[in-house]
Symmetry: C2
Subunit: 461 residues, 2 copies
């Protein structure tokens, strides 16, 4: 245990931040090609820390580190990398090195390394592997991206129901080729159809002569290999699973997913939603290049430009009115901005609730009603506030009334748009996290400017 603490102290401070001193020490050793020092600094690192180190290094330093570590390089670090750094490294490492790494990994980690490679590069690597490993990996890669089949481990232990506890334990004691860690065994029929599972603690507490079928737990929640990983994560969360068997369409056992895999999935999916809501592509990392980042952000900003121009067009319809009273130009962004923020609040809650299935057809009407009411209430509150501010600022009652009315209209519309847009997109099968924002802010901008300037034009005529 002391070694764990010491090692952590070297790499990270108490807050878990990576230490600059450590990074610089590694960089210095790499530059000096002091292989002994590189190995002594990084040879014992946990794969998670080694991956973070690789991400912090410059691209050329990453290759140097792996080359200088040689056989002391822990290939598990590769499967812990951001996609960007992973792909950069796989493109530069020799196929033999990657193939060697793959053989040391569980299937799910090996698949992560291979999945985004070009057909040709992938085959070059697979060709270096023993026949059986090749087949297993090719099989896993046939499942759709982000499916249960991709994140499962195929290393499972299965026994027939008629074995005794003693036979099962002896089988495990004698087998060489068992997974590193497993917490349950599965019970299958001769055709490998899933019958149930036995947790190891149950097995341990049973007498040797007891039959497996008598301690089999049939209350499983098997996962179809084609299921989306997001659905898998929801199953784990909803039913507090610590693991779940993965089956094919014929209910034949083909793998297992454990809660520690799901931790990564939940993190990844939530990250995706957060970034998408802000208009950022989801495979963004801190180590991306300037040009790559610029391109990723450009598309969303271009969409935003179109909506901003649309809002400006609405303003231009009232240029004569604004010319008459410049105070309108001063105040109009307030109405639009309040609508945008209120709409974003509602929309974000809705997008998350759709993702966690807390919002669906079953309660859509109730939630729409609530959001409209909330928009109306906050609209009234801010209408009063803004009417007062306007009166004291510009000394005009008419302007106060106009902005108050526009505020009410826009906050009700914001609430409605914030809930209806994500619900509608979801019904259409479009990911509401990516697209809701554009629609909602377009609506609140256009309605905000139109309501405020339109009311002003009517009143002042």
């Amino acid at each position: 245990m002391d070694t764990v603490l010491d090692e952590q102290n070297l790499v990270r401070n108490e807050e878990g931040d990576f230490r600059s001193e450590f990074l610089h020490a590694v960089e210095a050793a790499l530059e000096a090609e002091d292989i002994a020092e590189v190995r002594s600094l990084t040879g014992d690192l946990h794969e998670g820390d080694l991956a973070d180190l690789l991400e912090l290094l410059k691209p050329e330093e990453r290759d140097q580190l792996i080359t200088q570590l040689g056989h002391e390089f822990n290939p598990a670090a590769l499967s812990e990398l951001d996609e960007g750094v992973r792909d950069q490294l796989l493109a530069t490492l020799p196929a033999e090195v990657v193939a060697d790494a793959l053989q040391q990994l569980d299937t799910d980690d090996a698949v992560y390394l291979l999945e985004d490679l070009a057909e040709e590069d992938r085959n070059a690597i697979l060709d270096q592997l023993p026949r059986l490993d090749q087949l297993t990996l090719k099989k896993s890669l046939e499942y759709p991206e982000d499916s249960a089949g991709r994140i499962m481990r195929t290393e499972v232990i299965s026994v027939p129901p008629f074995w005794s506890v003693g036979q099962t334990i002896d089988f495990m004691r004698e087998s060489e080729d068992l997974p590193d860690r497993f917490d349950e065994i599965f019970v299958v029929d001769p055709a490998f159809h899933l019958i149930g599972s036995v947790a190891l603690n149950r097995l341990l507490r049973s007498k040797r002569h007891v039959n497996i079928e008598d301690i089999t737990d049939h209350d499983l929640r098997p996962i179809q290999a084609e299921s989306d990983q997001e659905d898998v994560a929801r199953e784990f969360e909803r039913y507090n699973l610590s693991s779940a068997p993965v089956v094919d369409q014929d209910n034949r056992l083909i793998g297992v997913i454990t809660a520690d895999d799901v931790v990564e999935v939940v993190q990844e999916e939530a990250e995706e939603d957060i970034l998408r809501l802000a208009g950022v592509s989801s495979n963004t990392g801190m180590s991306d290049s300037v040009w790559g980042t610029t391109r990723q952000r450009f598309a969303w900003l271009l969409v935003n430009l179109a909506t901003a121009i649309l809002a400006s067009y609405v303003i231009s319809l009232f240029d004569a009115t604004i010319e008459q009273m410049v105070a309108l130009a001063v105040l109009m962004p307030i109405v639009a901005s309040m609508g945008g923020n209120a709409g974003t609040q509602t929309m974000t809650v809705a997008v998350r609730a759709l993702a966690t299935r807390d919002l669906g057809r079953v309660n859509a009407f109730r939630v729409i009603g609530r959001e409209t009411a909330v928009g109306l209430l906050n609209g009234l509150l801010f209408a009063i506030l803004m009417a007062l501010v306007t009166y004291f600022w510009f000394g005009r009652t008419d302007l106060g009334v106009i902005i108050a009315l526009a505020m009410i209209v826009n906050l009700v519309v914001a609430g409605l748009a914030g809930i209806l847009v994500p619900l509608g997109l979801n019904e259409l099968g479009v990911d509401p996290a990516i697209t809701s924002g554009v629609f909602v802010t377009t609506v609140t901008d256009v309605v905000g400017f139109f309501a405020f300037l339109g009311l002003a034009a009517l009143w002042l005529l």
Copy 2:
């Protein structure tokens, strides 16, 4: 397994959405006080589905359901509820019912039920429990909110290092009071100091005469009970843990955290960040009341109003210029809006990277440099675009040049603010997810209006 599928079909459709028909059937049975029907519909539900059902019911129906289910009510559902519904139910259920439920739960779930109750209500419930359970729960509740001590299970199995495998297995076979499921046992010294762990599969595969100390895994990552759950989640993710022992300050074993608990934590923490970024309080649920929701949203909208007024004040400084050329009023929201969106993109990436520790002092300078460069590049691209749009719309070259310059300035500032604001707040110990948004959009609004209108004022003078 068929039963599992049938049950799922009844409650949820293939997409995992809760079925309206099922909800309505339950509501009808509750209203008719048809207890047999209520029990047959909901008596066998998994706690996760039962909790979702409770959340979908109206408050008075929730009490009815629990009362009508009587002893068939599965108390585990209570610990799966949203905070709002949980607190509503705990306030109305009799203390004996809650106490009865608590005794059937693991400590971590029991703590979740009790943690937000008023001192008085909590004691009323605890008084109904056996002395030992009272002490355990009171101890757990002493740990800070959202700490490892709150989410750990105290039910662990620990053995001395000098026991043999056989002795250990016999001990487990004979003990009555073991946790429902455990996948490893811990090795401790007589004072309960943590020495290591033995995974059950390791135990099973060892001969009976082997000593525990010879198969003990010392490479643990023990977690301090006071650690924040967010740090715990990061440890699990970084090191792919499936479980971790929790220790007190003297390194004495006091509990265990497993990956399935961490799935919930990751979900909760990511949810918190998503909602906070949009200015929504994080314990928001689909079943909150109109008034509660209005209040939650009001505070953020009020802050936004203040910043919007500040931006309007900047506009008002140039009212004479706008009077001279109304096209400025038409175009100015575009500059501000592009800056706001670009700033939000950078800020969101930064807030997430800070949360996952992918961004820290070690790479702050590099990332700041990158974001400035990205801002400049996108600024240039959109400057050209907007100059063209303006020229074709208003037929004026000078206006095109002005908006192009303002765009470059604002997108560079947006990139800088997007990264510096979260970094700065983080250094000050403030959660960047809550507060970054206000600062970033204030900066981009103010700079956007100031740059565009200021340049126009200079040019047109």
